[in-house]
């Protein structure tokens, strides 16, 4: 178990934010930072995933591990994430179906894209396993599977030249924005909620930033100098979201995705805002950690075990949605859902670490 650090802390915060934001309509939604900016926790999560790959594929001495080992490590992680996605989706579908039966309410079967699974099981089963049929709120892990799957390409290129990796990544991102490339949904029309061809840029940025950061102080110096710019961007983001100011996607010039605020394609506005957030908050962890004690340890614990916490969090937020529907919601239910959820996320993190420490029972 590693000591609490900034990366785990922020990832923990992203996990809690995602949990809260995945219970739409709940009282606490308006207190998450996603409501006060153009980008949200998803960007942070993917960027930190890239950063963590940088840490994981390098030895304690900072030297990169052998190439084959890195590739196998990423493959193994891809399988873990895929397994988590299939398991959580299966449980989620059963939760939806079970609640629909108990409440005698077929409306629930139409929950965020689940309808296809119940109405068209033959095709949708294939889409479910192939990750091309995604439930609403269960679409980050499919993105993550694809990103980890293609990560070895970027990482091996970056071993030779970081610039080449960045150019390739940025080129793919720009082309996807201009030509609207995305992976298709199937069955059903439309595309993936998170376009991996665009979002890979954040993963590569995270990886390269970690690399630069541990090699020399240049990146750190420059990001400290640019902090005021970050603050300006964050303030601008707050103003734009509070007053709900955003470009009209039918009025922006072509290519429209470059100018609109689009989450699926990680529009430049979201990317710039996210980089602003990074610049503005880079030093905040060191400032606040002495004062927040247990909260810091709690969030870092979540961040250390992000896959398990994210999976349980997805199911808990679905459960909270179902309970809110069942009971009609209200402040009491929201407080209960939040309290129980935060406890259960913490327990999940603790339990995963306990399991890895204890000898197996059988």
């Amino acid at each position: 178990m590693r000591e609490p650090n900034a990366i785990d802390f922020w990832r923990g915060l992203a996990l809690v934010t995602i949990y809260v934001n995945h219970i739409p309509g709940n009282t606490f939604e308006r207190y998450t930072y996603s409501q006060y900016g153009i980008s949200d926790a998803a960007e942070l999560f993917v960027f930190l995933a890239g950063w963590s790959i940088g840490i994981a594929t390098r030895g304690r001495d900072g030297q990169p591990e052998p190439r084959l080992k890195s590739v196998l490590r990423l493959l193994s992680r891809t399988i873990e994430v895929y397994r988590a996605q299939i398991t959580t989706m299966a449980i989620a579908l059963a939760m939806i179906a079970g609640t629909a039966l108990i409440l005698d309410n077929p409306l629930l079967l139409e929950w965020h894209n689940a309808g296809g699974f119940f109405a068209d099981p033959i095709q949708t089963t294939i889409g479910f396993v192939a990750l091309t049929h995604q439930l609403g709120f269960f679409n980050i892990l499919p993105l993550y599977v694809v990103l980890l799957g293609i990560a070895p390409i970027f990482i091996l290129i970056a071993r030779v030249s970081r610039i080449a990796a960045l150019v390739l990544s940025f080129g793919l991102y720009s082309a996807s924005l201009v030509f609207e490339w995305n992976l298709p949904s199937w069955p059903g029309e439309g595309d993936w909620f998170f376009d991996p061809l665009c979002w890979q840029l954040l993963l590569v940025l995270g990886f390269v930033a970690q690399d630069l950061n541990q090699r020399s102080g240049t990146l750190r110096r420059w990001s400290q100098r640019l902090m005021p710019l970050g603050v300006v961007i964050v303030v601008l983001g707050i103003v734009l979201s509070v007053f709900d100011l955003r470009p009209d996607p039918l009025l922006v010039p072509d290519p429209r995705l470059v100018f609109s605020f689009d989450k699926t394609y990680l529009s430049p506005a979201r990317l710039i805002h996210f980089i602003g957030v990074l610049l503005a908050f880079q030093g905040v962890y060191a400032l606040i950690v002495p004062h927040i004690g247990a909260i810091g340890r709690y969030l870092a614990g979540l961040g250390r075990n992000s896959l398990a916490v994210f999976s349980i969090g997805s199911l808990l937020s679905l459960a909270a949605q179902l309970v809110r529907f069942w009971t009609g919601g209200g402040l009491l239910v929201d407080v209960g859902a939040m309290g129980f959820g935060l406890f259960a996320l913490g327990f999940t993190a603790w339990f995963v670490e306990w399991r890895s420490r204890k000898p197996r029972l059988s």
Partner: protein
């Protein structure tokens, strides 16, 4: 006999251009200043078992009285597409069922039904499931979808996810208002479809309010509405099997339910196309109406519409 009824109904609709057939549906009439004109020509004699005739242009198992089924309003962009003889692009949003790849789904059924009702017109239906609540963010994604597809008409099944999340009713209505206004401001037509009826939610005050909010917004914004809730309630009441009729043994929306919805949406669109154009003046030509056998009710958009009807259907 069925044929005669259909002709009578269609002719009565066409000649008089009666406009908004909202009316006796209890919630639909709320706050509306529109003239209620049930298709009396086709109604059975007083004392008959039904208070209002069902719409016989629909398949027998989908038949619902017009007033339970829709409120109408003008669809000028679709009309323009028809006039220019170009394909009509329809974006169906929020359908629960899958599209391409799956066999006979709602978008496919909708396209078939629309092409049957509008002979010699090429209709292209694109469908998108929408994740999330319009009261929290999904309205923004709808704008992206519309920008991507650039349709002539958006058929928007709305309210289910917001109802499931029990979002604030006023927040829901105001975002829906804004979004419909936005779509219309780009000269794209909108047809709203309200959420499904299900017996277990018949007493749910909140759920009825969501259904009502969709109706209110449709009236306020002057867009056609398919009253899926009322239609399903009517059908579930009229069948011995109750709700099973629409929802199947495992109470999911079965093939029949989706086909009825496609027919209901088509009916609302074709009748809305008969709405006279407010800008047109003078000429007293009756809209040309092609009467086809039941199930294949073919309605052509009016050539220069009759001015007499215009005063009847002005939206508030």
């Amino acid at each position: 006999m069925a044929l005669a009824q259909t002709s009578a109904l269609l002719i009565s609709l066409g000649l008089a251009s009666l406009g908004t057939i909202s009316g006796s549906s209890r919630a639909g009439a709320e706050g509306s200043a529109t003239i209620v004109s049930p298709p009396t020509a086709a109604a059975p004699a007083p004392g008959g078992e039904a208070s209002e005739a069902v719409d016989v242009s629909l398949s027998p198992e989908c038949r619902v009285p017009g007033s339970k089924l829709y409120t109408l309003a003008r669809l000028s962009s679709v009309k323009a597409a028809l006039k220019e003889k170009r394909p009509v692009r329809v974006l169906a949003i929020g359908s629960s069922s899958a599209g391409a790849g799956a066999s006979a789904t709602y978008p496919v059924k909708l396209e078939t039904a629309l092409e049957r009702s509008l002979p010699n017109v090429d209709v292209e239906v694109e469908s998108r499931g929408m994740q999330g609540e319009i009261a929290s963010g999904a309205a923004e994604r709808l704008r992206s979808m519309v920008a991507e597809v650039e349709p002539d008409l958006v058929v928007w099944q709305v309210g289910t996810h917001d109802a499931l999340a029990r979002v604030d009713l006023d927040a829901f209505a105001s975002v829906l208002d804004e979004t419909v206004q936005w779509i219309k401001s780009h000269e794209i037509d909108v047809v709203l479809v309200n959420p499904v009826y299900t017996a277990s939610l018949a007493q749910d005050e909140y759920y009825s309010s969501i259904v009502r909010k969709v109706q209110e917004v449709a009236l306020r914004e002057g867009v056609p509405l398919v009253q899926r809730y009322e239609a399903m309630r009517y059908l579930s009441g009229s069948s011995d099997k109750g709700e099973a009729h629409m929802l199947g043994r495992q109470f999911r929306l079965n093939d029949l339910g989706l086909r009825c919805m496609a027919e209901h949406v088509t009916r609302a669109i074709t009748l809305s196309l008969l709405q006279p154009d407010p800008s047109a003046t003078g000429t007293a030509t009756a809209p040309s109406v092609i009467v086809a056998p039941p199930k294949d009710a073919a309605v052509k958009p009016p050539s220069p519409p009759r001015s007499g009807g215009a005063s009847l259907q002005e939206q508030p």
